[in-house]
Subunit: 209 residues, 2 copies
């Protein structure tokens, strides 16, 4: 059963299942307050719940709305031409904090893949994917490997570094590749977290492959 | 057996066991290249292996050297008075990338707690801790809860947000609290990852408790 079906039936909302993100947008420019405020204010929040604090911004809602919002906010800041980076956490299946608040026996809920229009902005990222709760499905490692293989075959998979995979391509494809692997694994494992650090407009030379 | 003992006996180096970090230091100032370069160049690397790229910097070596280097580099940049943030990944027990390269049967290797001198710099952070590999020790969840409880009782534990705990205090204590919980759990679980986003000198008002 997918989270769409369960959520459509009002069995469990994205908030109840803990579908959400936390991100910190960094702007390497003395005018960063205006650039970040502009980006946050000019992007439609739709049905998302958004809570911005001094350390990071919390988002909860559908996977498509979350990833769309991340792409729009980061893209808006990057289009100023300044160097920006974003630290992103995607989480599903554990609405609590250090310890999960969901009762045992909740099924793993995936969702439909997300899609974004190309942005024309080149993004490079270090990406990690963490399945955190053992599944009753004994084949869950097979499903995880299949999701990783699908990400590897995507056009943005650029190599393997210590503790992270490197993604390189359009901001939209970098975000959807990471998010769709997170959603894929979410069909088979309840609690799945993914972390991405995205860098755009860096003046640092890109290492030779 | 601790990793100190194993490493002292040359059975397994920090590199072989995958003890390391990846971090992205963000400086919200047009003069960021000078500030970041100064911080990286003025801090002693000791015995660490350091590899800086366009997305993040990779560190491997002893836990004490890694955490000391993070505190020194971030502290050096923060002392300019500009707003800085740092996205940090700590990892142990899995030297590979998306899939672990260690053979089965490797014991979980903890280490001695790390300690840093106070910096006088106030840091606020969102922190997450991920034990990633099931342990042969059936009480591993008890050990994880004990490590989290020790972090909660530390003076910098400031509350629980969605997907992360909030730490607030001296930069040195924020870093050592997160790192020592990561090391603690590492005594009982092989592959343990922790992510921190640290914010310093933010102009955003700190929410009322």
């Amino acid at each position: 059963m997918t989270s769409d079906a369960l959520i459509d039936d009002m069995i469990m909302t994205p908030q109840e299942y803990g579908v959400g993100a936390r991100f910190t947008l960094a702007v390497y420019d003395t005018d960063y307050i205006r650039i970040i405020t502009d980006a946050l204010e000019h992007v439609d929040r739709g049905d998302l719940i958004v809570d911005t604090g001094d350390i990071s911004t919390f988002l909860t809602g559908s996977e498509q709305d979350i990833v769309g919002h991340l792409g729009a906010v980061i893209g808006h800041a990057a289009r100023t031409g300044t160097h920006v980076s974003a630290a992103i956490l995607l989480s599903r299946g554990c609405p609590g904090e250090l310890e999960c608040e969901l009762p045992p026996g909740v099924p793993a809920l995936g969702a439909c893949p997300v899609a974004l229009d190309p942005t024309g902005i080149r993004a490079r990222a270090h990406w990690s994917l963490y399945p955190l709760m053992a599944s009753a499905d004994e084949r869950h490692m097979d499903h995880i490997h299949a999701a990783i293989d699908r990400a590897r075959r995507s056009g943005v998979f650029s190599g393997s570094d210590h503790f992270a995979s490197r993604l390189d391509g359009d901001l939209a494809t970098v975000l959807t590749t990471a998010a769709n692997a997170w959603i894929d694994v979410g069909h088979h494992v309840q609690h799945v977290v993914s972390h991405l650090t995205i860098s755009i407009n860096s003046p640092t030379p890109i290492p030779e492959p």
